[in-house]
């Protein structure tokens, strides 16, 4: 650990290289309960470059950047900003050192104007707002970096892209010379992304530096000068120039070679089609296209895995199938149409759903374990007795499930918010499996679980498949998909871009397709790949 802001001349021992890097991090370690989010991470940002930080969800990118931004304190490691060792206690310290972060989720006051939002939290002007003057300053700053935004517009009237510009302006107005952008394009339409790239270039042209967090390869190659790749808390490539890199190289570095767990998996014998999705399109919560004319079949006794990076339409696919999101197109379950029917209808058709968000969708945190376990069954006997609920049989059911699925909870009256993630997930799986579904939609069924829990979940899914359930498995863990799926469909930006039988699925190709590459990107010459590989470990 370092003490911050020692005079630089007293501390030349560990001083970084000359000319100093804009930001240098050495040996950063950050551990959260059960997760080593950053494992001795080194990172160097040069002045005037766009440096991409690439990695899957959970690779530790955001943790590293939150440490740079002063939101977290590292357990070990050192930080320098422009050659000066620093230790940030809060984002306020970081911005004082010229380092500002634009988060994925904006922090703007909708009813206030652009200028008011930018001034919010600043010490100046001291007392009286001189709005005209501040507006002129904001307008000039926006003009300088080619950002179109009206300083007097109230924020609620702005598009998402414009709101992001306000966030960037907020940082620039505070004197940020180093800008960290956390997945900035995730919320943007393509044209807005192009505008953002132009802005970032005009900033680096002035000698400012940008860290660009992303998991889209095309984008990284388009905007970044260099790229650092992280995987499972470690850096797998540090400061690789993008000039010589191919998407295939990056995809391999990002996804990694997997060590497949050996699961006893009897061969599948798919039966008739249970779920049939025909030409379905829908939008996400922000009104952008999330599914674009997708079609898919899942047969009885088959696990179809959807491989996709977060935000490419797979969550919306699960929602339209389970009746939680309206769509266009046709969805058949057991031959009967369910598109745009109520969630209750879909449940009655024998569709079980393990949702992505287990704490606020899959369970009701302040209700008891019993209440949570009867969620899909309270309409039917024996739990329902006419319009009443049979308390005794509900508890008996809950007790049985608790025993059989080894849900660790003091009693069935325990509120489920007190359960650990693994136990909560087991409870949800128990509830869904016990409805004896014909179709199971499982979204991220093992996210955040430890190895043992993951294995037990995987066994449950395999057993269901063997018993003839059709399973749609949506996961960002390629290892999981490869271990379980009989067929893999790769999704990118709301479309299916590749389909593999389990035997032919290969992690490198999948990773490439998931991140917007095409099959042809993989045909880089062996020499080029070797040359790139040589540069991976400096």
């Amino acid at each position: 650990m370092i003490d911050s802001l020692d005079p630089p001349n007293l501390d030349q021992g560990g001083a970084p290289t000359t000319p100093p890097l804009a930001v240098e991090a050495r040996g950063i370690v950050k551990e959260f309960p059960g997760v080593l989010a950053n494992d001795r991470v080194d990172f160097g940002l040069r002045r005037g470059e766009v440096h991409a930080l690439l990695g899957e969800n959970g690779a530790g990118k955001s943790t590293l950047m939150n440490i740079l931004d002063g939101l977290y304190r590292p357990d070990a490691g050192e930080l320098w900003v422009e050659g000066v060792p620093v230790s940030f206690g809060s984002p306020r310290d970081a911005i004082a050192a010229g380092l500002g972060m634009v988060h994925q989720h904006f922090t703007l006051v909708p009813s206030q104007t652009v200028t008011e939002n930018i001034l919010l939290g600043l010490d100046r002007p001291r007392f009286l707002l001189r709005e005209r003057r501040s507006e002129a300053e904001v307008a000039a700053l926006a003009e300088r970096f080619g950002m179109r935004v009206d300083p007097r517009a109230p924020v609620w009237q702005l598009s998402v892209g414009e709101q992001q510009r306000v966030e960037i302006l907020k940082m620039l107005y505070r004197g940020a010379r180093i800008l960290i952008m956390d997945e900035p394009t995730a919320v943007l339409a393509p044209q807005e992304a192009d505008d953002l790239f132009a802005t970032l270039r005009s900033m680096t042209a002035e000698g400012r530096s940008v860290v660009f967090i992303s998991h889209k390869l095309g984008e990284v190659l388009a905007i970044a000068d260099r790229v650092t790749v992280m995987r499972r808390g470690k850096v797998t490539a540090a400061g690789l120039p993008t000039a010589g890199a191919t998407k295939a190289d990056l995809a391999r570095l990002m996804v990694g070679r997997s060590v497949l767990e050996s699961l006893d998996r009897p061969p599948s014998s798919p039966g008739e089609v249970v779920l049939s999705v025909r030409g379905v399109s829908t939008t996400n919560d922000r009104g952008l296209a999330a599914l674009r004319d997708v079609s898919l079949d899942v047969r009885a006794g088959e696990i179809v895995g959807i491989a996709a990076v977060a935000g490419n339409g797979q969550s919306e696919l699960a929602e339209v199938v389970t009746g939680l999101r309206p769509c266009t197109g046709e969805i058949l379950v057991g031959g009967e149409p369910v598109a745009n029917r109520s969630a209750a209808t879909v449940i009655r058709k024998g569709v079980a759903h393990v949702p992505e968000d287990r704490t606020s969708v899959g369970s009701s945190p302040n209700l008891s374990l019993t209440d949570n376990l009867i969620m899909k069954r309270y309409r039917n006997a024996p739990v329902a007795r006419g319009w009443l609920l049979d308390d005794a049989s509900a508890r008996a059911l809950a007790d049985g499930l608790r025993e059989r699925y080894r849900i660790v909870a003091p009693t069935v009256d325990t509120e489920v918010r007190l359960l650990s993630g693994g136990n909560l997930q087991r409870a949800i799986l128990a509830r869904e499996i016990e409805t004896k579904p014909g179709l199971l939609i499982a979204v991220q069924p093992t996210r955040g679980l430890d190895v043992g829990a993951i294995e037990s979940v995987h066994r449950l899914l395999i057993d269901m498949r063997t018993n003839g359930t059709a399973i749609l498995l949506i996961s960002e863990e390629l290892d999981e998909i490869l271990a379980l799926a009989d067929r893999v469909e790769v999704m990118y930006e709301g479309r299916f871009v590749g389909s593999f039988p389990a035997s032919e699925a290969e992690i490198g190709r999948m990773g490439l397709l998931m991140t917007g590459g095409t099959e042809t990107d993989d045909t880089a010459s062996p020499e080029a790949s070797a040359a790139t590989a040589g540069r991976l470990e400096p």
């Binding site: 990695g55 943790t63 369970s363 009701s364 007190l418």
Partner: protein, 384 residues
């Protein structure tokens, strides 16, 4: 020294009732201090309040009369609050219920001389329908258009107030006074004093059948909320609307039904008040029962059984308002109780942790202030 709130991992069963009692105690101490500050004697005031509300069978009976509309309106609020529907329009629904019941005999909708066993049920239904309809308005607006129910229910209270005035100043006015003519006696709800011939001890006791309505409603609501499928759905929606949607529950339909039942309960309170106590429709039939009901529901933690007891406590405070002049004191106590209750609500979920000295910070780091309480979301932070 820093003071932080930390989420509780477990909540002992005794904590919630203990905090409620604590909140009431603190409220009484604060109120006592204020009474002392303005030159009163807090102990004497409290003794006086106790005597005026519970001191004899007679005043206890008066307390129960005041508690009756509070039980029913309190149940109305408790039901809606269970679903996190902030119906603060029980006052308006109460008034509409009173109006609906009155309409049966004042329009009149039935011939004069209709016997009580027909008239009273008819007036009950009319009161509940009118109150329920008044509750439906914000319910439908919220369900269909997403209009905030706090605003609409609050505003509808004023409309209801002027609606009553329109009738009692206008076509129902008795000789130009702001009140209707008295209801025929067969419309009056039976009182204990009506049976004084048989049981002399009942002489002069004004407790009426409305109290029984309240107790039955509390029992039914308990069954409905704690033991029925619908009650389960309401609990689920109240705790996590997204989970309820996922479980296949049509939230909008439930919302409309709950608002209608809530309004009907408050409407029944209005009917019970005009038929059991006032015996006519007039301006100012409610000293704010519908608003006090919010506090009653809160104090009862939205449980029907506890609503009865909380309502009796507040009935006593209303009664004491007549005794302690100027009457601001009981209203102040009510307000302070609500305030302390809402504050202690936090303590059910969180514990207070006081750390002496600054948390470990880099000792020679003037520019790096002590680490603030980092958002306690390590799992979320572990994302890439």
């Amino acid at each position: 020294m820093t003071i932080r709130l930390e989420p509780r991992l477990t909540t002992p069963a005794w904590l919630s009732p203990a905090l409620t009692l604590g909140a009431i105690t603190v409220a009484l101490v604060i109120s006592g201090a204020i009474i002392a500050l303005v030159g009163g004697d807090p102990v004497a005031s409290y003794v006086h309040i106790l005597q005026a509300s519970f001191g004899s069978v007679g005043v206890l009976s008066d307390t129960l009369v005041k508690a009756t509309p509070l039980i029913l309106t309190g149940l109305a609020c408790a039901l809606a609050f269970r679903m996190r529907l902030w119906n603060i329009g029980a006052e308006g629904q109460f008034l509409l219920g009173a109006w609906g019941a009155s309409a049966v005999v004042l329009f009149p909708l039935v011939p004069a001389g209709t016997p009580g066993f027909i008239l009273i049920p008819l007036m009950m239904v009319a009161g509940m329908v009118a109150g329920g309809a008044w509750g439906l308005i914000p319910g439908v607006l919220r369900a269909r258009l997403g209009v905030n129910e706090i605003i609409t229910t609050l505003m509808l209270n004023y409309i209801a107030l002027f609606w009553i005035q329109f009738w009692v100043f206008g076509s129902w006015s008795e000789g130009g006074f702001q009140q209707s003519k008295a209801f025929p006696t067969q419309a009056w709800l039976p009182r204990l004093s009506d049976f004084a011939d048989a049981v002399p001890a009942f002489r002069g006791l004004p407790v009426h059948l409305g109290l029984i309505f309240g107790l039955i409603a509390a029992a039914l609501l308990w069954l409905f909320l704690e033991r029925s499928r619908f009650g389960y759905e309401i609990r689920l929606i109240g705790d996590s609307p997204r989970a309820a949607r996922y479980a296949g529950i049509d939230i909008r339909r439930r919302l409309i039904v709950v608002f209608a039942i809530s309004g009907a309960l408050a409407g029944l309170a209005g009917m019970s008040e005009v038929n059991g106590s006032v015996h006519r429709l007039q301006d100012h039939i409610s000293p704010g029962y519908g608003f006090t009901a919010i506090i009653v529901a809160y104090l009862a933690k939205f449980r029907p059984g506890r609503v009865v007891f909380a309502a009796i406590l507040f009935g006593a405070l209303i009664l004491a308002g007549r005794e302690i002049q100027p009457s601001g004191v009981p209203a102040m106590i009510q307000g302070i109780i609500l305030f302390t209750l809402i504050v202690t609500d936090v303590l059910v979920r969180y514990r207070i942790r006081i750390t002496r000295g600054r948390p470990a910070a880099a000792p020679a780091a003037p520019a790096a202030p002590a680490a603030p309480a980092t958002p306690a979301a390590p799992a979320a932070g572990a994302g890439g």
